[in-house]
Amino acid sequence: MRDFEYQAPSSIDEAVALLAEHGDRAKMLAGGTDIIVQLREGLRDAGLVVDVKKIPELMQIAWRDDGGLEFGASVPCHVIYKDEKIIDSYPALTDSAKIIGGWQIQGRASIGGNLCNSSPAADSIPSLIVEGAACRIAGPTGERTVPVHDFCTGPGTNCLTEGELLISLVLPPPAKSAGSRYMRFIPRNEMDIAVVGAGAWLRLDESGESVEEARLGLAAVAPTPLSADEAAAWLQGKPATEESFSEAGDMARKAASPISDMRGPADYRVHLVGVLVKRALTGAVGRARGGDRNPVIPVGINRC
Amino acid sequence: MAIVHIPPQMQELTGGAAEVEAEGGNLRQLVAHLEAAFPGFRDRLTRGDSVAPGLAVSIDNVVTSRGLLAEIETDSVVHIIPAISGGS
């Protein structure tokens, strides 16, 4: 790979200044599990690599006064999924963090990096969408906040403009009698890229029998991960049953417009959307009713 | 006389015979004997002083690595088969 300059700024301002100065010749380095591969394979070119892991804000985990969570864009996955409180509050997120690559990848890869890489198949993005996460972005003109479902603009592209930097992800306080689950389908049981990924979040009414509110996120079925709003809205007020979930899955298929590639034919992917949405909702409702929230080892039928 | 099994693709040389008898204390003598009876046989089975590339000879169900010097008993059974490539 071609050589490049390396800088590790210790403040956001310093980082923003570097990024603004070098424009698209500058590439950000968090966990490096995507960018180093892309540089090595010549898929991306960099004059300057900006290591953002020395910036305190990007490495912090902070619980907000409202009970919500803010975690730095460069916090590695293994820190996220080892945090009992995060597991309990945002189980879909920890599902995702636990299956991005193997342990060695999770030791480095960050949720923020997964988001900024903006792959249509990114495992964390559907979970961030259904957990209602927003992105705190710093730039030359100051700070702005963007909902995660508006962050990606296409395969490998996002709304970050020149000089901008993702600082952290902000999650709303966990709701009562709510649960979430992320599942992906891959041919192996680990070390693979999602053929389809589905995140589901739902909140039950007092009876615990019907859905008061739901959110659905999909990966690898469109140029960007997306939020299946129609199916989610339809679930409102529906009984929290397998029937409703599989009907919601059928509706979610309509939101999918996948391509055929080496990871799976388009029609197969559309079919899988229904299957995974149903299964993710089933997992989410189990957690909403007090079921185990720990990440599930993705092996065996119905585990993926 | 040793019995030589002729694979179908060589039977054109033996007038269609699938099995012929031949004499020889080793494979070279056997081939010479066959060449006399069936002209062209030597060219098909041998290259220089060894068995032709891609072919192997099994004598009494043991594939020989001794080439044309492999010993042949008077009651030996000889097969001409493809050479096997390794693996593992």
Binding site: R188, G300 | G54, G86, G87
Partner: protein, 764 residues
């Protein structure tokens, strides 16, 4: 100990009463390998060492009009650039280089392309520089002009009349006879016995099916790597990661037109081969770069270079037809097999044709096999080369027949099993073999007898076969005065064979395995030894060790006779003790007296065993299919094999388990994906999906010790048969779980789901 570390059962031969054989000592090279001290090919460090990189073709079929390396040569830090112009013209010589005959023009052009490229990823030029980054940057400065040619990626297309030709001069070889007109079909084999046509007419049931398999790679974790130093005295030293130091020496010497005496190959520890490290790719390239730069040069392939630029095992198309009577006796069988040999002739269709019916006693049979050139990498051996393809086809058809006759699949196989005296379709007759015993052990195994319950679950079984070749092996043994023996052997050790060979010498001498110090020696330090392959090392190199042991005993009897002033013939030897009348002395004690009775002893042996045996594997697996996704989950797996005498049972089990999991990968997910232009889409270990630890269960093993009559300890090769049964065993299990018969590998989720859906299967 074995109980802690495996779920293994050994069915011993009654005559078995060995001291060392059958124990499980820690391997002699073990500590170096768990502490990181073992030196593999890429761990070689030399004074002045520089690094090389390879430029590979971006297109699958083209004429090379020109190569301009001037900019690369001028790039700072570059010390040498090489193209095929730096190789001697290989002519059209054919040489036997360890894995059968190889055309040197093809071998040379596969190391650095000459005139034409035949596949995407073929090596074209190489750069040596101060470090690999500089070398890779310089590669991008090499300008190559291509004249694109039509690309053939499918075997049946390449066989068609009037299809574009890869090699204008290639004429189909029909067992020594060349066809008159050029073709992409390099070889056609035809076997026939009995009268298949009439037998099919008389059959009660005839099943005929077509099958397809895709290109798969051996998948060793260590990339190919070679280091070469071309000394000013004209001697070339090569540090290689190879399955055969002498084979690598010959291939390198022939490619460079050097006498073998000028080439020394030092075999490093080797990070897996499975057949893929028999051919050379980098050695002569590193050599010419060293000659031009005057420095030692190391080249390691990138992982995509390994996938695209080395020899995987072929994709295939197969048609199988089998006819049986009411009782299930096979009356006739017919096979039509087409294998892709890839860029150049010389594939594995031969063994494919010999293995397709090798598990059965079939009176009337016909086999036609074709090796076909296509614009893909030049295929090479992969564990039981050619056998897994045909087993997938044949064992699926046999399973379907058993189902149609409502017979137990093992009983049907027992009824038709090959045994001692069975005449193979390619001619030879089997000696003592253990297929029947292995099938019976499977039938009686708890796994096969236990019920399988639950929806979408099924059990399947299949049998598999591979040869056990002999070939040449040498060892040298030095007896030390402390009662130990240093053993130099010529076989490279991929999976613990140092120890299995040392144990055979120990058994011969009646001493412990720990008293032998085995070393793999370079080509200047031990006698000629053929490749590590063909499941031959423990068998043939073991024979050499036994011979050397006998020589040591007879020499030491002479020394004992000197001590006791008796005739050598009066000295006996048993259980490591020499004796005569009242005199007796242990092996170790006598070692201590060697220097005072004429000096320490060296023994050596070079063998070329003519014995030729066979190994059979029978596998049972339980699977569950997810009907909504088509994904197959392996629930339980048992591998049984007639291993002959298991010298070191742990490593026999390891071969069975490792081969099984390679076969599971081949069955479920592994395949080369190509676009229409012949570009591989998935040349990474992420997208070429080899099984991870989470994809497989424990692999239970049963070793059936049916002794090999042509080895004093009854050793059979065990390395290769285990990869053969998994694809059909899993296909048969899928059939029993879902009612769907899969006829294409891999049986990946989209394929299985499509088949289930077509079958009106699961709700979606």
């Amino acid at each position: 100990m074995s109980d802690n570390f495996s779920n293994s059962q050994i069915i011993k031969d009654p005559g078995d009463n060995y001291k060392t054989l059958g124990t499980r000592p820690v391997r002699h090279d073990g500590v170096d390998k768990v502490t990181g001290r073992a030196i593999y090919g890429n761990d070689v460090q030399l004074q002045g060492l520089i690094e090389g990189a390879i430029l590979r073709s971006p297109v699958a079929h083209a004429r090379i009009k020109s190569i301009d390396t001037s900019a690369a040569e001028a790039f700072p830090g570059v010390l040498a650039v090489a193209t095929s112009a730096d190789f001697p013209d290989p002519k059209d010589k054919v040489a036997d280089l360890g894995e059968g005959p190889v055309n040197l023009a093809h071998l040379s052009a596969n190391c650095l392309a000459r005139d034409k490229v035949f596949y995407k990823g073929q090596a074209i030029a190489a750069v040596a520089a101060r470090d690999v980054h500089i070398a890779e940057e310089a590669l991008s400065l090499i300008k190559v002009e291509y004249e694109l040619l039509p690309v053939l990626t499918r075997v049946l297309d390449a066989m068609k009349e009037g299809s574009p030709l890869l090699h204008e001069d290639l004429r189909t070889n029909e067992m020594g006879k060349k066809a008159d007109t050029p073709s992409n079909i390099s070889d056609h084999l035809h076997f026939e016995q009995g009268d298949p046509d009439t037998a099919f007419e008389n059959a009660h049931l005839v099943v005929e099916r077509e099958f397809k398999t895709q290109t798969v790679h051996q998948g060793y974790i260590e990339p190919h790597v070679a280091t070469a130093h071309w000394n000013q005295d004209g001697h070339l030293t090569v540090w290689a990661s190879t399955q055969g130091a002498f084979s690598a020496r010959e291939q390198t010497a022939e490619t460079l037109a050097l006498p073998v005496s000028k080439v020394k190959v030092i075999p490093c520890e080797i990070g897996g081969g499975f057949g893929g490290k028999i051919p050379i790719y980098l050695e002569p390239v590193a050599a010419v770069l060293s000659r031009k730069s005057g420095r030692p040069v190391k080249i390691q392939m990138t992982r995509d270079g390994v996938f695209e630029g080395t020899g995987p095992t072929p994709a295939s198309f197969m048609r199988i037809k089998v006819g049986v009577d009411e009782a299930g006796k096979i009356l006739a069988a017919e096979a039509w097999l087409a294998y892709e040999t890839g860029a150049y002739p010389g594939g594995v269709i031969g063994p494919g044709c010999m293995c397709v019916f090798s598990c059965y006693d079939i009176e009337n049979a016909r086999v036609d096999g074709f090796d076909v050139c296509v614009n893909k990498p030049w295929t090479k051996a992969y564990r039981a080369p050619g056998s897994t393809h045909v087993a997938f086809a044949m064992e699926s058809v046999v399973d379907e027949i058993a189902a149609k006759l409502e017979m137990d699949p093992i009983e049907l196989r027992l009824l038709n099993a090959a045994k001692e005296g069975t005449k193979r379709v390619d001619g030879p007759v089997y000696p003592r073999i253990g297929l029947v015993e292995t099938l019976e052990a499977a039938r009686d195994h708890d796994h096969y007898k236990s019920p399988i319950e639950g929806p979408n679950r099924g059990r399947g079984m299949a049998a598999g076969f591979w040869f056990n070749i002999g070939l040449k092996s040498s060892v040298t043994a030095h007896v030390n005065n402390d009662g130990t023996v240093t053993l130099l052997e010529g076989s490279t050790d991929i999976g613990g064979t140092r120890t299995s060979i040392a144990m055979q010498l120990a058994e011969t001498l009646g001493i412990g395995a720990e008293d032998i110090n085995p070393k793999v020696a370079d080509t200047d330090s031990v006698g000629y030894t053929d490749i590590t392959g063909g499941s031959r090392v423990t068998f043939a190199t073991g024979l050499a060790a036994i011979e050397a042991g006998k020589d040591i005993i007879s020499q030491m009897k002479g020394r004992a006779a000197m001590l006791w002033e008796c005739e050598e013939g009066e000295v006996g030897f048993a259980d490591a003790v020499f004796s005569q009348d009242s005199n007796s002395i242990t092996f170790a004690e006598l070692c201590g007296k060697l220097s005072s009775t004429g000096g320490l002893i060296t023994a050596r042996a070079s063998v070329d065993p003519q014995g030729f045996t066979n190994g059979f594997a029978v596998h049972i697996c339980d699977i569950e299919v997810d009907p909504e996704t088509g994904k197959v989950d392996i629930l339980r797996y048992t591998a049984l094999q007639d291993a002959g005498k298991a010298i070191h049972p742990s490593y026999v089990e390891g071969q069975m388990q490792g081969g099984s999991v390679q076969g599971i990968g081949w069955a479920l997910n592994e395949e080369y994906l190509f676009d229409e232009d012949g570009r591989m889409l998935n040349p990474t270990m992420l997208d070429y999906r080899m099984p991870t630890a989470l994809d497989v269960p424990m692999i239970d093993t049963v070793i059936i010790e049916v002794p090999n009559p042509s080895h004093p300890f009854g050793v059979r090769g065990v390395g290769e048969p285990p990869i053969v049964p998994p694809p059909p065993a899993i296909a048969n299990a899928i059939k029993n779980a879902t009612g769907v018969r899969m006829t294409e590998l891999p049986m990946s989720p989209p394929r299985v789901f499509e088949a289930i859906t077509k079958n009106g299967g699961a709700p979606s």
